[in-house]
Structures are given as C-alpha cells and as structure tokens.
Amino acid sequence: MLNPVDHSPASRRDQFKAAAVGNVAGERRRKQAIIIGKERRDAVVRAKRMRRADDNDEGMMYDEPFSDKIINEETVRAVQELKFLFSSSSKDSSQKKIEALRKLRRLLSCSSNPPVASAVEAGVVPILVKCLEFGSSDEQLVEAAWSLTNIASGDSELTLAILPALPLLIAHLGERSAAPVAEQCAWAVGNVAGEGEQARDLLSSQGALLPLAKLLLLNKPMLVKTAAWALSNIIKGPSSKAAVELFKVDGLSEAIIRHLTKGDEELVVEIAWVVVYITSLAESQTKLLIKSGLLPPLVAWLSSSESLSLLTPVLRSVGNLVAGDNSNTDALLDAAKDLPGGLFGCLVRCLGSEHRTLQKEAAWTVSNIVAGSLQHKQLVFGSRVVPTLLHLLATSTFDVRKEAAFALGNLSVMPAGESQLPQPIMEHLSMLVERGCLPGFINLVKSPDLEASRLGLQFLELVLRGLPNGQGSKLVEKEEGLAALEVLEYHDNDDLRSMANELIDKYYGEDYGLEEEYGPGIAEVVRGGEEYPSWRKGWVVNS
C-alpha cells in the first residue's frame, strides 16, 4: 500500500488537488521512498518495472484509505465497463473509451499490490489487445499499453497472460509510432522479457529485438532510456544469440557510444547495462564496440562518477573486458592513460568505495588484470592498488576478501606456462608477505567455504616453496598457519585434507625445527648418513 509519510490534513488534501498546483504529485513521488513489506519483496527484486503515475496526471490517485477489497471491486467494474464500450453494440465516442481505459490504468498503478489478478480474471486482456489495433489514437494506445505494462510487472502467471498482446506491442515499436506510444510498448515488452529465459526467446523469435535496437538510434532521451532497459532484459542471456543479433542494426555501435558519452546520467545507466551484457556474451561485437570508441567514455565515467547506479554497470563492463584477454587490458590502459591515476586510479576509487559490491567487483577486475602478462603484474605492483588490496584482505567482508586474495595471489606468480611449475615472483611475493598478507590468507584457510580454504592453501604453498632458507615455514607457523593446516588434517573434504597434509609433510616434516635446536648438520645425523654433525664431537641425539 502506498504510505505517504506525512499524514497531516494539508498534505492529504494535496493528493486530491488538481495538477494545476504544479508538479507536486510528481515531486512527492520522486522524493518519497515507497516502503514495502516483506511480502512484496519479491516484486521489487524482479527485473520488472511497474509504471506508477504520470507527471501530468489529473484527478484522483487511488491511495489509502481505499482497501484492497474496494479496489478489486472497482477494477472488475472498470473492466466490465470497457467490455461494454468496446463491444460492437456500443456507439460511444472514443473519448469515453479513453476515459474508461484511463480509469483502469489508474487502478492498476495505484499501489505496490495492484489488482492485476482481478483484472485478468475479469477478462481484461482481450479488450486491451483490441485497444492496440492499428489506427487507434495515440492516447488509447498509451493507456492500453500502460495497463498491459503493469499487468506484466507481476507474477509469472499474470505476465504470461498478456502474451496475446505481444505481436501488437512489438508492432508499435516501429519508427512510425509516436514516441510516447513506442516508449510504453517498449516498457511492456521489457517486463515480459524480465520474466525469464523462455520469455526472452519468445520475444526474440517474435522479432522484438531489432525494432527495440532501432529505437536506440533516436535522440529522444525518455524513449531511448526505456528501450535500452527493455533491451538489456532481452539480451542478458545466458545465450549470446540476442546480444550478437543486435548488431544487425546499422549504426548501433556509434549510437551506443554517443549515448554513453553525451547522455544524461539515467540514460547512461541503462546504456551501460546493455554494454555489460554485450561485453559478457558477445566477443567479436565487443571488439567492434572497442574499435568504435567504447573505452574512453567508459573509463571517464569510472573515473568521475559518484553514483552507485552508474558505477556498477560501468565497472562490471570493464571487469568483463579484462576477463577476456590481454589486448583488452592493454586497450583499457591506453584509454585511461590521461586520467588521474590511469586505469588503476579508477580501480582504487572503486576498491575504496563504501559499497561492498563495487569493492568486490573491482577486486575481481584486478585479479583478472594480474592474470595477464608479467608487465601487467608489474604495473599493478607499482600502483596504489596493492596497499588497498592488502587492507581489504585484512579487514573487509568475506566476499571481498576472497576476491582480494585472488588478486594478490595472481600478482605473485609468473604467467601460467604450459606444464611447468609456475614460479612465484619473488619480488612481489616477499613484499606482500612483508606487508602482512599472511594472516589474511590463513584466515581464508580456516573458512568454511571450500573454495576460499583451497585458495589460502595454495597461497601458503607459494610462500612455503618460494621463500628461501625455510623462512616460509617459520613465518607461516608464526602466524598460526601451521595450526590452521593441522586443523585441516581431519577435514572430510579429500582435496583440502590432501593439500594440508602434503604441506605439513613437506615443510613441517621430521627435519623441521631441528636446526634451531641442534644446529646445522643435524638432518644428516638423524637420517643416519653421518655419525656426528661436522662441527661437534661426542654429541648424541636426544631421544
């Protein structure tokens, strides 16, 4: 239920005043967050968006104190009225039809729990389909599409109920349609696409993809924004087909980059999400975009934006790019070279953000950069990324620590050869150990998460193997790493157990600690090769 926070008589009256008071309604809507209880939480996290109200809305908004029951009854009545108006026996003017449609639309936009089910049950869909006929007035088309949008913003059943309307909705996406009409139809299509993979495939096969893509070529911000959002819902995969097919539209790359560069923030956000899915799923199309100049605006936003909504898809796009190959990384480094701190400066910003998602995905991005060439590792090593990662490893939440661990570990080994044992990069490894990274990794060893534990063990192996003169063993033990290994000796996961035992056997075997207590040369004595250590005579092994 819509809960305006201010219950004073004055504000309540405001709700029912005509819109001549200015943009009060719209402003109020924008300022107030809608509080939704637990039951409706699922509705929110879906990739669907209900359209609530218009800035130009006149008349009543259905609000509290109207109860659900009353609203449902009203809805059914509205549907019946529509049925009558659109039947062949009716001679009423189109104005009446539009008013009736508008009434229905308002009922369906009123709250977080609109009477969609009642409407569908009362048979509203066939009428709405009728309203979408070619030749209908724009107003009628918009109102009908709006109702369909909100019906499709609900549960699966209800969304799928509007399938009969799809062909017409898609048809009205065409270039001949008025902008508000195309926008509303795109919105409805976007909601259907948010339903799931099957719905997406259906939309693609019905030809929704190309008309939506063509809408991106236009210069109308509201329309492009909605079309981009709908498109992102369709191409998000897991199949790459749609993302690839998108580029059949001539000039799409240029349009995407143009909007990314010049659009207002809300538009950039939606376009960036389209870029996220393209960079994730369509490799050669990504290269095409890069060639057309995708990277400069992308890194510019990464460097300057303060908005979480914007940074999320931009960072993720960059992350997807560097998860590809070295040439993408090089291209990004080049594109960002004139920005303060370069590419790594941008990433440090994200690593230092207060938003955990940004930190996590930034660390992931770094981990993929340092999985590249030796030069990439050296570049990162020389930047402020490392101290930030070390800090995250020591202090942050689990998911961020894990990504930081991936990054630091990848930084410490030579690029993966073929069958050789990858060597640690001593300069990097010893510096990281010196700066206190061991406790963080040992913590991961102790984690209940198997992957994290495995990761910690692998890093310990690097340290134990890489540091000379047994320093590794001593350091790891000092930080209670040996204790952590011993704990895993009894673990019921075969992998972890074998790994831990292997490390203990190899680095904390019989000879460990002997030299400290008995001096050098003891190992040979114990093994029976020498009678006495070379430096001492008449000395006996303590048994």
Partner: protein
C-alpha cells in the same frame, strides 16, 4: 587460478619419494582469468542493488534481518556440519564453528604442546608419553595400549600391536601414526643395525614405527621385539583397502616447534645429564 585442477600433472614437477597411499600432487596456484556469466551468483548483489535503486523503494528490514543477511553474504554456508571426520556436530555460522573447534577438537597436551582432536586421544597420549606409572606397568607386561577407536575395548602390550589392530580391525591405513616418528639415538641405531643384519632387511618406515615411549632400560630389547613383530605381521598382511575412516596420512599432534620435547621424562633426564657431561 584454475579451480578444477586435474590431479595428474607431469611427474617432473615433483621429485620426492612417493607416499605409500597416494599419488597426490599439490594443485599449485596458477594465475588464470575468471569469467562470470551475467546470471552468475557472483553478480547477484549488484543486480539486486540495481533493481532497488531503479524502483526507488526501501525495503522494510529489521535490524535482526540486516545482521542475518550480512552474515549470510559473508559465509555461504551458514548452516554446516563440523568438517572433522567423524564429528557429527551441526553448527550455525563461523563463530560457532570456531568455538566448537577450539573446545572440541583442539585438546592440547600441557607437557609437550601437541594438539589432538579429542580429549580421549589427549588422555591416551599423556598416559603413553608422559606417565612413568604407565611405563612401569608396560614394563611388567600389562596390556596398557588401548585401541584408539572410541568404544573399542581392546588393549595391547605395545604400540606396534595396537597399530596392527587398528589396521586389521578398524581399517586404518598402515601409514597412520599415533606417536610421532622417533629419532633414534646413536646407540639405538647401532643396536638396530646389528639386529637388522640378522633378521630380514627392514625399510626405514618400519624402523621408525618404534614406540618412542618405552622406558630406557627396556628400550633396546622391546624395540627389537616390536620391530620383529611388526615385520612378521606386516609381511603376513595383504594389501588393505584403507577406506574412509581416517585420512591416509594423518598423524595426530604434530607439533614440530618442540622437536624431541615429548620423550619420557626419565629418558630425557638421562640424556640431559649425558649432554652436560659431554
């Protein structure tokens, strides 16, 4: 870093003596790229935030729920079973796991600081390693070595025969050791070598299964006896299926920072005086 590391890598990578029970090769860290598909759970939190921000809604979450959610995001396995083999405890969250672990699975010997997973094993260790009364009874031929398996009442005259029991009855792997490998003194090694010359040739493994806690006066004799016993038994026992009872190369209480600290006080005192004299 590859996460599905195949266990078989080229043998040149590792030149070390193979362990009896496994051809395990450590999956070393490899720096490899990790891609995530759009619907990967990795992106879930970002996707959720996107929807919340786009719809400008505020979820009514109680403080308790917030805590729960943040904990859930922290540790994927909120509810889990204790990972120690044989322990059936159910735990909620990392805090509980750590508490459970430190109270149940880290019994520490106050004499030699070795760590054991249960108090029962700790008790057995203390008796067998630090108790001269125990040694005395052993010397008089009482079967003092209890079976390690909780609930099994068997008792044995020495460590080696208990060990054989563990292998035979309870399917322990042969490489399992309750006591740490013993480093023999000069004298002991000499004696052993002499004995070995007579009996069948032994490999290093059997020799090192000697019980390190037999009191010194009987040391040589008992060692030879148990060495022979083990030899005879192991040759008679066919290849065993090690099963899943305990991991193959488990060795409890490895506390290497105190090498040699575990030996019987009497014996140690003896050697110390030798050292001082020498």
């Amino acid at each position: 870093m590859e996460l599905d590391e195949p266990k078989s890598q080229s043998q040149e990578e590792r030149s070390r003596p193979p362990i009896a029970d496994s051809a395990f090769i450590f999956p070393v860290w490899r720096a490899t790229r990790r891609k995530h598909l759009p619907d990967s759970i990795f992106f879930a939190s970002g996707n959720l935030e996107r929807e919340l921000l786009a719809k400008q809604v505020v979820l009514e979450i109680t403080d308790e729920e917030k805590l729960r959610i943040s904990c859930l995001e922290e540790e994927k396995q909120w509810r889990m079973q204790c990972p120690v083999v044989g322990c059936k405890a159910k735990l909620n969250g990392l805090q509980e796991l750590e508490t459970h672990f430190f109270t149940r699975h880290t019994a520490v010997c106050s004499v030699c600081s070795r760590v054991f997973p249960t108090t029962r094993l700790l008790d057995l260790h203390i008796c067998e390693s630090h108790d001269s009364f125990f040694q005395a009874k052993v010397a008089r031929g009482h079967p003092m070595f209890k079976c390690l398996v909780d609930g099994c009442e068997a008792k044995f005259l020495n460590d080696a025969s208990r060990h054989q029991h563990l292998v035979d009855k309870h399917k322990f792997p042969r490489s399992y050791e309750f006591h740490r490998k013993r480093h023999l003194s000069q004298k002991q090694r000499q004696r052993l070598h002499k004995h070995q010359g007579k009996a069948k040739p032994q490999d290093g493994a059997s020799a090192s299964q000697e019980n390190d806690n037999i009191c010194e006066s009987k040391e040589g004799v008992l060692q030879e006896e148990s060495a022979m016993e083990v030899e005879a038994l192991t040759s008679a026992v066919s290849k065993l299926n090690t099963g899943d009872f305990l991991p193959s190369n488990v060795s409890f209480g490895r506390r290497h920072s105190r090498a040699f600290a575990f030996s019987a006080p009497r014996g140690r005192g003896r050697h110390k005086s030798k050292l001082n004299a020498g």
